[in-house]
């Protein structure tokens, strides 16, 4: 049995006033386990406790009761941060530094030899697509650029656990697709990813397991595929067929023979994101291409 990367037992956070009276239960008795190598999503509306959970695991907050462990060490331990990378929701980086200086600064906070640190920083700047802007200070960056450099600083120590808070927030579809591909790539490298997001389609695309929080309480937890599976319906996909009345009738007969009811027969749809990305890629390949309405 492998040691979970993250484990919480009855983790609770209650905000109190100066006199010790309960003001708000931000997190209530959360039991969570994240295994190595999986991408775990934390979902929930605003104020549900997602960010509180992350802050408790990172040591930015201290629990009111219960325990949190990361790599088997208490969440408040400083040493465990050697193996953790964190991308906050907003870019909390120092805006007077440029990209190189930012990665150099954060790299120095880890036990990374200087040559490795410099090589890794250069590689990460390349990966996040900021090579042309690495000498500009962060104050001049757009939101998307700051998000990218934020991700680079989260990866500077080649962490085993990457915590991403709203990683696609503020990114355009291209940036979102890039981020999701990166997250999947991290999984391929054997890393564990914990992410929170409001964008359910992004979570569905990348996460293996999710937990849904509401008002500080854990409402649901499990594998994404299993949770979204509609047990009451059967979906069939086929190629090499033309839609026709005859096909529809034949299929209806088969389904009714097995006691079912056919709801719909049509061509499947792609996502708007895929459509968008395809069009953009085609536009890049054919500069000057323009939309022309179909001839009547």
């Amino acid at each position: 049995m492998t040691t979970p990367v993250v484990e919480t037992r009855n983790l609770t956070k209650i905000y109190r006033d100066f006199w010790g009276r309960k003001k708000k239960v931000a997190l209530n008795a959360l039991d969570l386990t994240i295994q190595p190598g999986e991408i775990f999503g934390l979902l929930g509306p605003n104020g549900s406790g997602k960010t509180t959970t992350i802050k408790l695991l990172l040591g930015l907050l201290f629990p009111s009761s219960g325990e949190g462990y990361v790599f088997g060490e208490p969440a408040s331990s400083v040493e465990k941060n050697e193996k953790v990378g964190y991308l906050p929701e907003e870019s909390y980086l120092y805006r007077f530094l440029n990209a190189e200086e930012t990665l150099d600064f954060y790299g120095r906070l880890f036990k990374i030899p200087a040559t490795v640190r410099r090589e890794r920083a250069a590689r990460l700047i390349d990966i996040v697509g900021l090579s042309a802007d690495k000498k500009r200070i962060l104050r001049e960056y757009s939101k998307g650029m700051r998000q990218r450099i934020g991700l680079a600083q989260a990866l500077i120590n080649d962490p085993q656990l990457v915590i991403l808070d709203e990683p696609t927030s503020g990114l355009d579809p291209l940036g979102t697709r890039w981020m999701k591909d990166l997250i999947l790539d991290l999984k391929k490298q054997g890393k564990t990813v914990l992410m929170c997001s409001h964008r359910l389609d992004d979570v569905q695309d990348v996460c293996d397991r999710i937990a849904i929080l509401y008002n500080g309480d854990l409402q649901e937890q499990g594998a994404v595929d299993k949770l979204v599976e509609d047990q009451k319906r059967v979906e069939v996909r086929a190629t090499g067929l033309e839609l026709s009345e005859g096909l529809e009738n034949d299929l209806r007969a088969v389904i009714e023979k097995h006691g079912g009811t056919m709801e719909r027969l049509r061509h499947p749809t792609t996502t708007l994101e895929d459509l968008f990305l395809r069009i953009i890629e085609e536009s890049k390949a054919r500069p000057g291409r323009r939309y022309l309405p179909a001839a009547k």
Binding site: L58, L60, K80, P88
Partner: protein, 701 residues
């Protein structure tokens, strides 16, 4: 320290030296330990009842040695309070920090072996040790690499935000000669330049760095930049240390550039000859102790002339007066024996309080008699009338040493200058030697020494005596006289141990004593301990200027450290105000100590209120009623609180060397080393507090 217009250093206290370390260490343990103790108790209770209340610590997971030390501290404080209530073993050595009537008003505490101060010291030691154990365990986890990274970040932040520009723009007014804006006498030109330059630099630098240090951590928390640091393997205390060293490095560079620039301006400016003579140097004085004596006693009170600040005491002027101001030098440096031109300078600045108008444009006359411990002087008997002259004490080998001195003087003068000893020229050898002293003062460097001066040296070496027959001094005007180096050769021979009538060994007399007499009738001559000294050497102005900058550096480090530590808990504005308040309290701590002293001549706030309500004058004696007793208790409590506030405030004045540079006095290296030690000792408890606050703070709360 304050200073008047002319080259003179008024000292409210001597700077601390290495010899003061034991007493200062004891006082520090008592004070710092006393302040640490309640914090320690709070922390232990917090750790017992909070759940993982601070990083890496779970409930009751305090080191055992911390708990044991805290328990020992509790026990020792209980014993101390019992002794205090029982009035046993009180500290008699350090009764008062301030004695407004003494010359050196504030003295460094002495190490006391009485039971109360000793137990208080050990209690403080135990509570400090208890608090330091987790601190030192935490310090062992610190990484210089991370601290350096954060320090470098701090420096870059200041530079990229162009704060240095502000500093250099603010320095522009100092580029212009101060005399263009503030008229002054020629001899005061450098004095004023140094004061204005140092004052200006300090204001600008202190304000800038206090603001920087006050807002840096609160801004990091507010902007949430601190999230990306805390989520790295960074000990919270490293953030504090990194910021501290970053700003200290910047402050050092800024100060160095500004001081070097201002020094270059001074060196290249067209200073007047008077200013060069007066203050463009660094005198190394050898100071003694002052007492007053007359036929009525050898340790009388000097005359109080009624000046607002009774810094000086006075002797009456008259040719027949037996009153003397006696400067006693108990330990003298050996280098004085080999002074150039066989002459050791003595500088003096006396105050004249005129009882009559006197002669216009004329000072008063003084006689100065310099004697070693081999040549004791005795006052005339109490019953003597019309006779004011002190005489030589007879020795075992010579019943009339004064006559022997004069006889030998005439013989040597005759040998040196020709003629016979009974020649009328040699009737008053003392006047001849005084004239020779003047000639040595006025001669050019390299010119031969007058023969009379060589005779004076020979006599001084043999008898341990030299007298300046008459010297005219002006009100608060620095004067210089010379004494033969032979005196110091004579003083180097240790006299025999003397015993009193009861067989007890008597205290050794001072190596050299200077007896000052005012011979101008109806005038009072005032002096303080710092008003007369031997001049051991004169060093360069430049090195003194840079040494004084060290004092400014200490103040910068002080405000940076204070502001950073306070900002670990409070917001930027509160931190800034708190730091400023503490700094100002430190500036006025001398006044506060006087306020809290039991030796005040007037009642405290409660006593004064009682007097006002009952319509009494402030000089009315206490009537012993219940209300006045209660007011007295209130005043004692007030004094106690005020003294605690001064314990809390930094000793800012100790780092001020401006007066030394502006008046042309050398700053001892030992005193600068003690500055550094006292700075570290003051900041250490604050950093201890910062350590605990940082690690128990929820940055995301």
């Amino acid at each position: 320290m304050t200073s008047p217009l002319f080259g003179l250093l008024i000292l409210d206290r001597e700077p601390a030296m290495f010899s003061d370390l034991p007493g200062l260490a004891q006082a520090w343990l008592q004070d710092a330990g006393g302040f640490i103790f309640p914090g320690l108790l709070i922390y232990i209770l917090y750790s017992l009842f909070a759940n993982t209340g601070d990083r890496g610590r779970t409930r009751t997971n305090l080191p055992t040695i911390t708990l044991l030390s805290a328990a020992a501290a509790v026990l020792l404080y209980a014993v101390y309070y019992y002794l205090a209530l029982d009035k046993t073993g009180a500290d008699t050595l350090n009764k008062e920090a301030i004695d407004p009537s003494s010359y050196s008003k504030q003295v460094a505490p002495k190490f006391s072996t009485e039971s109360q101060p000793l137990i208080l010291m050990f209690a403080g030691m135990c509570s400090a040790f208890a608090a330091c154990v987790p601190f030192f365990l935490g310090v062992m986890k610190l990484s210089l690499r991370r601290i350096f990274a954060i320090a470098k970040l701090s420096a870059l932040e200041v530079i990229r935000n162009r704060i240095f520009l502000v500093l250099f723009i603010a320095f522009i007014p100092v580029l212009f000669p101060i005399k263009w804006f503030i008229p002054s006498k020629p001899e005061a030109e450098l004095n004023l330049t140094v004061k204005v330059t140092f004052g200006f630099l300090q204001v600008i630098l202190l304000l800038t760095f206090t603001l920087l240090a006050s807002f840096t951590i609160p801004n990091d928390v507010k902007n949430q930049n601190i999230y990306t640091i805390i989520t790295k393997p960074v000990q919270p205390f490293e953030i504090l240390l990194g910021r501290f060293f970053g700003y200290v490095a910047l402050a050092t560079v800024s100060l160095a550039l500004l001081i070097f620039g201002s020094w270059l301006l001074i060196e290249s400016s067209n200073l007047s000859e008077e200013a060069r003579e007066e203050t463009f140097k660094a005198r190394v004085p050898v100071r003694g102790q002052l007492r007053f004596a007359s036929k009525k006693g050898d340790n009388i009170d000097g005359i109080d002339a009624g000046r607002e600040f009774n810094y000086r005491k006075y002797i009456g002027g008259d040719p027949r007066s037996s009153q003397r101001a006696v400067y006693m030098f108990r330990k003298l440096p050996g280098s004085l024996k080999n002074a150039s031109d066989q002459a050791v300078p003595v500088e003096l600045t006396f105050d004249i309080f005129r009882l009559t108008k006197g002669i216009e444009n004329r000072g008063v006359d003084v006689t100065i008699r310099v004697c070693t411990w081999n040549c004791e002087q005795v006052p005339p008997p109490v019953t003597a009338t019309g006779v004011g002259e002190w005489t030589w004490k007879p020795t075992e080998s010579d019943p009339d040493p004064e006559q022997a001195y004069l006889k030998e003087a005439r013989r040597l003068l005759a040998e040196a200058l020709g003629g016979k000893p009974d020649d009328p020229r040699y009737r008053d050898p003392i006047s001849l030697m005084t004239a020779a002293m003047v000639a040595v003062q006025e001669k050019k460097s390299g010119a031969p020494i007058p023969k009379e001066w060589e005779v004076a040296n020979a006599l001084a070496a043999k008898f341990g005596f030299f007298q300046i027959a008459t010297k005219e001094v002006y009100d608060m005007h620095p004067e210089r006289v010379l004494v033969p180096a032979g005196l110091f050769q004579n003083a180097a021979t240790t006299p025999k141990e003397r015993k009193g009538e009861d067989g007890k060994v008597l205290q050794m007399p001072p190596e050299i004593s200077i007896f000052v007499k005012c011979t101008s009738a109806s005038q009072l001559l005032g002096m303080a301990e710092g008003d007369m000294y031997f001049l051991e050497a004169e060093r360069g102005f430049g090195q003194n200027y840079f040494k004084a900058a060290f004092g400014i550096w200490c103040r910068l480090v002080l405000v940076i450290g204070l502001a950073l530590c306070i900002s670990t808990y409070f917001a930027g504005t509160v931190t800034f105000l708190g730091t400023v308040v503490l700094y100002i309290l430190g500036l006025v701590s001398f006044f506060l100590l006087e306020l809290g002293s039991d030796k005040k001549s007037v009642a405290g706030p409660f006593g004064s209120l009682n007097q006002m309500l009952s319509g009494k004058l402030s000089t009315t004696p206490d009537d012993g009623t219940a209300i006045s007793k209660a007011a007295g208790v209130g005043d004692e409590g007030f004094g106690f609180l005020i003294r605690r506030v001064t314990n809390f405030a930094p000793d800012v004045d100790a780092y001020s060397w401006t007066a030394y540079v502006s008046e042309g006095f050398n700053i001892p290296i030992e005193a600068l080393a003690m500055n550094f030690v006292s700075l570290a000792a003051y900041l250490f408890p604050w950093f201890l507090l910062g350590f605990y606050l940082m690690r128990s703070r929820e940055v995301a709360a």
